[in-house]
């Protein structure tokens, strides 16, 4: 068996084994079914919720909130980061403030955001946008500043002027780190949207999970976890795909011989 094949088998086999153990533990009464419903009944519940359209509706609302908030936050963060990275005085003026605001957990300012934007959609989108904005602007600034000086020098030596240098050197040179920032931001956007949906809304996966807890339906609680996990995986895959499309020059990640973990 090739190492890749073995790893694939392990990657699918281990979680399946874990689920089987869980199922068995509940059936033997070792695990409280009111806290940890058996995977089989979670699967049935999830199927019922998906087929009935209920969970799909909630998921769609969450996705739309994330898309709107992420779109606003990422675009402004990107533009801001490129500006900050390229203009040193601007960076000197604003970077300390941005760094200071960045470390405040965004969920903590949710009450303030709800005061400003009300209890409706606007506050959900705003909190996601704020969380996204800070991560993207900080990563983009660092990405631009981190472009290897040798490439800038090469660009200048071959006569690139400011805009040309930006388009041909700075932008592609900082793209990998920018995409990393976008990926982090999208992950955080999901966390923040779920927290925001715990309060003052009747829609969204966050609400669905909260409601399942309120009404003591553990199967639905776990079904909600699976849906949000799926959304997380989907968002990761999208960013990865976009990253490959915009950076065809990057190496695919593949196992390297001689690495300590590569048996």
């Amino acid at each position: 068996m090739s190492p890749q094949r073995r790893d694939r088998l392990l990657a699918t086999g281990a979680p399946l084994l874990l689920l089987a153990l869980w199922e068995a533990a509940v059936r033997m009464g070792l695990l409280d079914a009111r806290l940890f419903p058996p995977p089989s009944s979670v699967a049935v519940t999830l199927y019922r919720l998906v087929a009935g359209g209920e969970v799909v509706r909630h998921a769609a609302v969450t996705v739309l909130r994330v898309l709107a908030g992420f779109g606003i936050g990422a675009s402004t963060g990107l533009i801001g980061g490129l500006l900050l990275g390229a203009v040193q005085p601007l960076r000197a003026a604003l970077e300390p403030t941005i760094s200071a605001l960045y470390v405040i957990p965004k969920v903590a300012i949710l009450p303030l955001v709800m005061l400003i934007f009300g209890l409706g959609e606007a506050s959900k989108i705003a909190i996601v946008a704020i969380a996204t904005f800070f991560i993207v602007i900080i990563n983009t600034t660092a990405a631009v500043v981190g472009v290897e000086p040798i490439y800038l020098e090469a660009g200048r030596a071959f006569g690139a002027r400011r805009t040309q240098l930006f388009v041909h050197v700075v932008l592609p040179g900082s793209l990998p780190a920018i995409v990393t920032g976008l990926r982090l931001a999208l992950g955080t956007a999901l966390i923040v949207v779920i927290a925001a949906e715990f309060v003052a809304t009747q829609e969204g996966i966050g609400y669905f999970i909260w409601h399942a807890w309120n009404t003591l339906r553990p199967e639905e609680l776990f079904a909600g976890f699976i849906v949000i996990g799926g959304l997380g995986m989907l968002s990761y895959a999208v960013i990865r795909w976009v990253g490959r499309r915009v950076m065809p020059w990057l190496e695919e990640d593949r196992p390297r011989e001689g690495r300590i973990d590569h048996a």
């Binding site: 071959f158 006569g159 592609p172």
Partner: protein, 270 residues
Amino acid sequence: MSPKIVLREVTKVYPARRGPVVALDRISLQVADGEFVCVVGPSGCGKSTLLRILAGLVPPTSGVVQIASGRRGKPLHSLVFQEYAIFPWKTVFQNVVFGLQMRGVPKGERETAARAWIDRVGLRAFADAYPRQLSGGMRQRVGIARAFANDPEVLLMDEPMGALDAQTRLLLMDELLRLWEADRKTVVYITHDIEEALLLGDRVVLMTARPGRAKATFTVPFPRPRGIEVMASPAFARLSYEIWEALRDEAIAAMGDAAAQPPPAAGGAP
């Protein structure tokens, strides 16, 4: 005939935390039109700084730098960098065409020129490959093609073979000789390798350890066109040893200097 490049009493001082560092100390140099001059010196002697001053990337603290310009609409100089300064996000073709594109050479014309140079360095099959798909030697061929395709009056090369293994280096030097002898541009070539300098250059300028000064100049007598075989001659070995004799003290001084004081960051502070 008036010289192509004139450096007069050029000094470069970098400010540093522990007081100013003199990278170049009143260095003077003249290069004739079509001459291939190699500058040899121990590491940290300021030879890269010298090249950056010639390229206009770094201003000298004092002194005169002149490069005579004969043709309109052509760039004065192109740089071939140490190691891999070709853009990893551009294909071989996009890298080679870069200088022409920046100068606004019409699309058809610049693409023809770039294709021709890619052919001349033997990378036709790799025109659309990205640098990561190439070996070190191939990458540096791209760097050389990028500079030649730009068709400058002066080629400035900063240890272009520095990162290559010995065999690749020999092959590439042979290739560089062939390319250069075809159109004899004025070249200033920085290296720390004496044999490389003797094989390629018309003249070898020896620099002292920091602060960099011009210590001695050797005229290279071997006829052109030259090839690797010249390295087998006794005269080559003799001259090589003679230069080493002159360089040895500087190399030792540079080692002591490096221990006492870290050199400024690569690329040089502004």
